[in-house]
Structures are given as C-alpha cells and as structure tokens.
Symmetry: D2
Subunit: 282 residues, 4 copies
C-alpha cells in the first residue's frame, strides 16, 4: 500500500518592512517570514479535497495584519504570536513552525550621530529565529544568526592530522581561518529576554573565535559553543556550522619571491564543511 508520510505546506519569503514612527525618530525593521503547517492533510494530497487547506496567501495576509496589531519588536516574540494565532484559529493543524530572519539595518551615522530617519544596511548577517508550536503543548524556540563572515589572521594552525597516500596538504602552523558562521541555539524556557541573550551569545561566539588558539575549525567551533553553554544557562543546546572558506597561500617562488604568509587567493569552492551540535548532558 502507498501512503502519505510526513508532509508540510506553507508560505516562504513573506517580506515585511515595519516603520515605527516615534516623534522625530523612526525604528526600521526588515523581516522575512516563513510559515509551515503540519496536520492531517491526507484528504488534500490524496483526493484533492481542499476543505482543510488555509491558502498560503492567507498566511501572508496574516503576517501583515498581525504585524500591524502587534507590539512585539523581536523575532522570537512575533514568531510565537504568529504560531499561536495559526494554531488557535486552525483546529486542523497539529503543529506550526514560524521562521523569521532579520536583516541588519542601523541608523546612519551623520557627523558621528545616528540620523533619526535614515538607515544603512550594515552587513549581510542575518538574525534568525524558529518557533515551533504543537497542538499537544510541546513547543520550542531556536534563535540564531547566519552569514556572519569572520576571519582570523593569527592563532590558527592545522597540523598533526591523518595522512594517507593521497594527502598533499602541508601542515600549517599559522594559517588564515575564515568562515561564514551559522549558529542556532535552543532555549530551555520562553521566559527570557531574547534580545539581551541574543546580544550576549553573539558576543561570546565572536569573542571566543577571536581569542581561541585554534588547532582546527572543529576545535574552535566546539570552544565557541561550549562557552555559550557555560555562560548562558537558558540555552540547552547549540548548533554551529562553520564552512572553511579557504585562503590559499600563493606560491611566489616561481617568480623568485618569498611569501611570508602575506599573499593569498581566497576561493569559494571547494570549501570545508564543519558542523556540530553541543548540548548539556546529565
């Protein structure tokens, strides 16, 4: 017999700009929202019966309508509000997942002072969150960040590794280590200040990255996650993804020149892939 197993449907890339007008000073936020529904939708898939299908266009409308009413200004709280709304209004759902990412916009500095109504996209880093709510009460909030592009020019080696007959990589006592960090962490409770903790966790991740004496990407990745768990008791587990974006030392000896670790070719592909999940354990 053939049967439907897991299935999900929803709306991706619902884009939202919000301007809060507070006297002379504005706030500006740009979010991209994804909503996914899970439930017993077999009759839709198998028979084409749409009676339980809320259109994805309605999901999009809901994002805009709730954004107008909501007083929430952080991703996690608006994500929860959306997830609650969908679950409350749609008995056909068993669970819903809301993912929101926020672009980095800041007040433009004009003569050293933040301009009240002008903004600049300050990096390509994204702040992210994923809220899952289930009908039976289980729920979770993950917060994270994506595409945080960082580079160490000191304090990174890669040596003592396994060598086989196809290994040509030389050991490196002092190499560049660059990555585009993606991280997400799970809170043990909803009762936290998401904004404050996000800021602290981001600082920890960056601080450890900067200070760590790195034996490998894995080694630094683990150290970053470990300190987050040590210092932030509200975080249960953390996932880190750190592609190794190689900078290759250029061989200038062909031209009678030395290259004392100064001239590199950055390459996008191939790249190393390193990911791990680190968690508290009893």
């Amino acid at each position: 017999m053939i049967a439907l197993a897991e299935n999900r449907y929803g709306k991706s890339r619902v884009r939202l700009v919000q301007v809060k007008r507070r006297g002379d000073r504005n706030d500006f936020r740009e979010w991209t929202v994804e909503i996914l529904f899970t439930g017993d939708f077999a009759s839709c898939f198998v028979e084409g019966d749409n009676r339980n299908i809320l259109p994805t266009d309605t999901m999009k409308n809901t994002v805009y309508s709730l954004a107008r009413e909501s007083s929430q200004t952080c991703l996690e709280e608006f994500g929860q509000e959306l997830a609650d709304f969908f679950l409350d209004h749609n008995p056909q759902l068993s669970s819903t997942q809301v993912s929101i990412s926020e672009k980095s916009w800041e007040h433009l500095l004009v003569e050293g002072k933040p301009h009240p109504t002008t903004f600049v996209q300050s990096s390509s880093e994204l702040q992210t969150s994923e809220t899952s709510r289930a009908r039976d009460g289980a729920s979770s909030v993950w917060s994270g960040l994506d595409n945080l592009v960082i580079m160490k020019t000191a304090g990174s080696e890669f040596a003592g590794f396994l060598k086989d007959s196809l290994t040509t990589l030389p050991e490196a006592a002092d190499r560049l280590l660059g990555t585009a960090l993606r991280a997400r962490w799970k809170y043990s409770t909803m009762d936290v200040s998401f904004r404050t903790l996000r800021k602290s966790i981001r600082q920890i991740l960056l601080g450890v990255f900067a200070e760590h004496i790195s034996k490998s990407v894995q080694h630094t990745l683990y150290a970053m996650g470990e300190v987050v768990l040590q210092q932030i008791p509200e975080v249960d587990e953390i996932e880190l993804n750190m592609p190794n974006r190689h900078c290759l030392l250029v061989d200038l000896s062909r031209f009678g020149q030395d290259n004392p670790n100064e001239i590199f070719v950055p390459v996008d592909e191939p790249h190393g892939y390193i990911e791990a999940r680190i968690r508290r354990q009893d």
Copy 2:
C-alpha cells in the same frame, strides 16, 4: 555537563569535469561532489587532537584520483565507490555520505546531428544522488533531481479551500501552476540500473504533472509520487518538494481591458512551499 552531540565534517563543492575520449566522439560530464564523515571525533573538537582527522583537502584529492581510475559513469555508482573507499581506508569513521550532482550537458546539434566533441548546457536542472554507507553495514542510495522548472497552463484549479477573515484569495477554476521540482527517491536495493530507472522516474513525474487534473499543488505532488511507487517496485519511498511559483493575473480592468487568463506577473517571492514524503506501507 557539556558534550558534543551530532557532528559531521567534510568537503563541499568539489567540482569535476570528465572527458572520455572514444575515437572521434567524446563524452563530457560535470559533477559536483560533497563528502561528509561521521565518527568519534570528540578528541578533535574538544581537545584539538587531529590524529583522526583526514584533511578535507585529501577528500578532494581522492575524488580526482578515483575518478581517473573508475570505470563508473553514473552518479550512484561513483558515489558508492567513493563511500566504500573512505570507509575502507578510514577505520575512525562510523559512516560516510557522498552527494553528487550532475549538470545537464548534451552534444550540440549541428545541422540536426549531435556534434561529437561540442556540448551545450541544456538546462539548469540537476541530477542528484546521495549515498550513505555505515560501518555496521547499513547503507542507502537516494537518487533525485533538482530545479526542474515546469509549468501547466491548463488543468489546474484551486477552489473549495478554507476561508477565514483574512482570506482574500479568489477561487480559481483555471490557474497557472508552476514549480521548480525537487525530488529524491530511495531504492530498496543496490542491484538496479540506476540510469534506466532515473530516466523512467523522471518521465513518470513529468507525465503525471502534465496530465493530472490538479485540485492543488499537494494533489498533483501526491499523484506524481504515487505513480512512481506504483510503477517502479525498486523504489521504497519518494520525497517531493514543489514550491508554488505564483503567476498573478494582472488586473487590467483599471485600463478598461479584460484579461481572459492571458497576462500574468510571475513573482519569485513570496512563494508557496509544499513538500511530502510518500512511501510503501504494510
């Protein structure tokens, strides 16, 4: 206590072009390979001990070296060969996963005939495979395709859906249905002709997409997967992902014109998201 949970490392985007020179006629293939290792790498992550770490650069070298020796010409078989090689030569691994995608290149037609040594990239569709091998013997092969961009201009409706106070979507008796299909299916055995089955499954997916009287994307997605499972006994399960790439009917009544389902704006975002897994069940 803080501990390492899941972790993986490897090399992504290893690109390979192979030219087989057979007399006057050449074969041309372009593959992109990703290799991921799983094992007990805690000492590397936690202590910076690299003795069990085969460099990802070596994984890259291995792809090229094995490609030279191998007589395999299909993704799945070369993927198995790579996975076997890594598992055999690296006792520290518990499992390895090899993913390969192939670009669409065809002999260029010159005056109606395939030119023996000139090729054209015939679409942005990718053929894909993922081979997982575990030390304890468990293994699996998934084959698939990605970014197959297709469109129905008839035989698609979306009506009878759930409406709430935020629903503004009109019912559509005759809408455009476009998607960028991603599919992957799992074989129950390695002892199949991957190339022949891939071709058959692709034809089934496209044939059902074309002929189906669609009540929704979900409805068509399920029908496509169901027929694959009905006709191809070697396939155990199939996953389909069909984003709904909307084409919006332009309101020309503002200009005193009708629009009998002829003039549309295609939009990339937001888009619907529909995915399901369909499998055999006892």
Copy 3:
C-alpha cells in the same frame, strides 16, 4: 558651474508571462522588460519639478496593457511597439530604449510528443533585444542571446603566445574551451523576419563554434562573427562576449597517475574576458 550631463530613468525587471490560448494548445512566453527614458529632465533633477516625469510605475502598467492589445509575439516587434507608444505619448522624451529578454520555455515532451499545455524551462539561455527610438527619427534594433553555455572538448589549442618572466602557463595543443556566450547584432533595416534571422544566426554561431579549429578564444570569436556577417546581409555589426571559463587539468602525477586530458577542475573565477565588435567596412 555644475550641470547635469547624461541622464536616464526608467523601470527595470518588469516581468510578464503571456499565455495565448489557441483551442487545445497554448503558447507560453516569459519576458522581462526594461524601459529607459531620455529627455530634458533637468528641472526634475535640479529643482524637484516632476511635471515632466511619467512615473516608472506607469511604464510597468503600459507593458501589461499593451501586451494585452498587441498581436506581436516576437521581442523585437513588441519592443518597437512599446518604444513607439512612449515616444508618441510623451513629447518630453528625446528618445527611449526598450530591452526585452525571453526565457527558454518549450512544450514538455510526453511520450515523445509536445504536450499542448505543459511547458519546461529548457535552458538558462536568454533571447534578448534592445530597441532604441529617437524623436528625430534615428532608431536601431539589436537582437541577441545571453548565457548560452557551450564547451569544445577537441579542436582547441593555445600556443605560440607571448611569454614574460611571470608566464607559467604551459602551451596547450588540446585544451577544453568553454564559455557562456553573449552576442548581440544590429540590423540594418527593420524590415526583416526577426524570428527567422535569430534562428539562423544562432545556428551559425553554434556551428562555427563547433567546427572551428581554434587557436584562441579570440580566433574562434572572430570566426563566429565573421560568418554571421558573411551569410546574413541584414546584419551590420555584431558584438560577441566570450568569457573563458577555464577547466584546469588536474595534476595526478602526485598520486602516480597519468591524466591524458580527461580529469579537469572547472573554475568560475578567475576567468578570461574576451570581447569584440565585428562590422562591415567600406
């Protein structure tokens, strides 16, 4: 004194899907239109006087409204219709330029036959056109194509080149030659069958690329353009852009293996850049 020199404004990326419903069989086209206006807009730039500024939103509306009325099915003719419309209705313009690109969609083959209402995006190649109309009567039509990705695995060498102290490239008697062709050609008259000529020119470009015994990208580029001008008297000049997308031979001797021109790494960057304009001369 400070003054406004050249200036242009308009609308980019106006996307249009057209479905022509002819009994059981449909036609499907996807175009992206750009419209640029030139004229005396100094008062707008300098003083903020918008009285001569037709909104770019109106340009977009015009594309959809004219598409509904038009019987034109080829890029060049619809481009002329748009350009004429804007020039006729906007005395403030000195000239207008309309660029249209068309995606490659074809009827899906089902059991070997074109399905009447299902389509597949058959490649990432674009067909292009640029129509310029000036108030004083001067006008031009360029047609072209973009992102036609092609590869020669034989008949291409690169040798006998200039060598200086920084040259390390070995001479190659038999290298891969791949490119993403962009071409555009100018017609000497509007009174041609754009569709027929486009097809012929595309076939000439591809045929010469396939058959040419190439001494360099430049050599093949010129040969391609030359034959177009020789065989198509309606074309005045042709511009060709052929980035050299390198496939680097992998050095397998490090592993005790030979590599008889079979195993390559394709790289996206850096790439060679070769462009030329070829024209008739008295």
Copy 4:
C-alpha cells in the same frame, strides 16, 4: 568588407587577500581585480596568431607578484602600478584598464576594542576604482563605491508627476526611499590623497541623502552629486546610479485595519532605474 572594430581581452575576478603583519596587529584586505588590454590584436582575432597575446593567466600572476613587492595600500595606487607595469612591459598595448574592488572588512570589536588579528566583513558595500592608462599619455582614475544599501523613512515625497490614462500610482507625501547606491567619480589629477577624498565623498553622499527633502529619486541623486562637486575641487564629474527599491504600503483596509505608513512589502522587482552624470561646465 568585414573587419574587427573595438576589442578587449583580459582577466576578470582575480581575487587577492593581503595580510600585512605589523607586530601584534595585522592589516587585512580583500580585493578583486580585473585587467583589460587594448591594442592591435587583429592578427590574433583574424588569423589566430598569438605572438602578441600575453596570456590572461600571466595577468593573474602579475597581480600576485606585484602585490608582494608593492607598498601601495589603496586601490587607486595599486591600480596605477599594475597599469604602468603592463604598459611598460607590453609594447603591443595601446592602453590598459585596471578595475579593483575592495570588500568591507574591519577589525572585530571584542569588549569594545578592535581585535588586532580578527576581522569581520562589515557590509556588502564595495569600494571600487578604475584606472585607465593609454600609450599616448592619456589616463584617468575613477573611484567609487557600489551596493551601499540605504533607506530614508522620512523626508521623501513623490507628487505632481505626469499622469496619463495608464497611471495608477497615487501621489505620496511621505514615502520610503530606498536604494543600493552605485557611484563613481573622476579625479582631475593623480596628485591627491585617494583615501582621504574617498572618505569625504562617501560622507557627503550619505549626509545629503539623509538630510535632503526629496521630491524624487532624481532630485536627491542630483543634490548628492552637486554637493560632491561643490566641496571637492579635485573631482571633475560624478556618476550616480540609484535604483528605486520600492517598499509598497500594504492595503490593510481589507481587514478593517488602518496602515499609517508603517507596514510595507519590500520588492526586488520591478525596480525604478535612475542614473545621471553630473559635471563641471565652463
């Protein structure tokens, strides 16, 4: 007769990372270089004679070799050095053009202080330069920036514009104005501090953008360029490109809600296109 008209060849996307190691503190730069050669290359194009063709691979090597020797740290000066080198060593050239773009990397702040050897990619803005040198002595330096993404949430209207029968855009007394600024400016002399002037010009562009009471994108673009020319005598002309990246006000009245200019949908396409060149005039 058929003849070669304009032609150029060279190397694109030569990527370079430079680390200057100054005691405990490092400098880090990431540049992408493009080199184009112009000269009498007809024999290469027409006859396949490569004797005057310096391989583009050699151009790439030259970038790395000169970067090692050079003490230049700003784009414009290294661009001149490269252009001079190629022109001096290659009598077959009539001119050469070197374009360099620099990614935005900054020292990472750790506990409020710049970390000496850790860097963060601080935005997706690029700093650019284009140096052209001709054999006969003519030369020019353009500096610029690209992809500077900025947004005004106040001080921008668009009203009083031309309306025709296809105009549906409402007048806006208070709209969002967002763009991805691309600018380049030409210096009247080489004898300037490129780094200081770049900083000043960037500040002027941003300051005017922030403070301008905008009647249109054109109006603000002109004001930005005008102030640069007024305040920086070393700049002869400036070109500005400011696509209008629309944020559309969401119609919430369908849901019984108002929208006092707070909830918007940002859209990537279509977008307005506005460009102008502003220059000194006698």
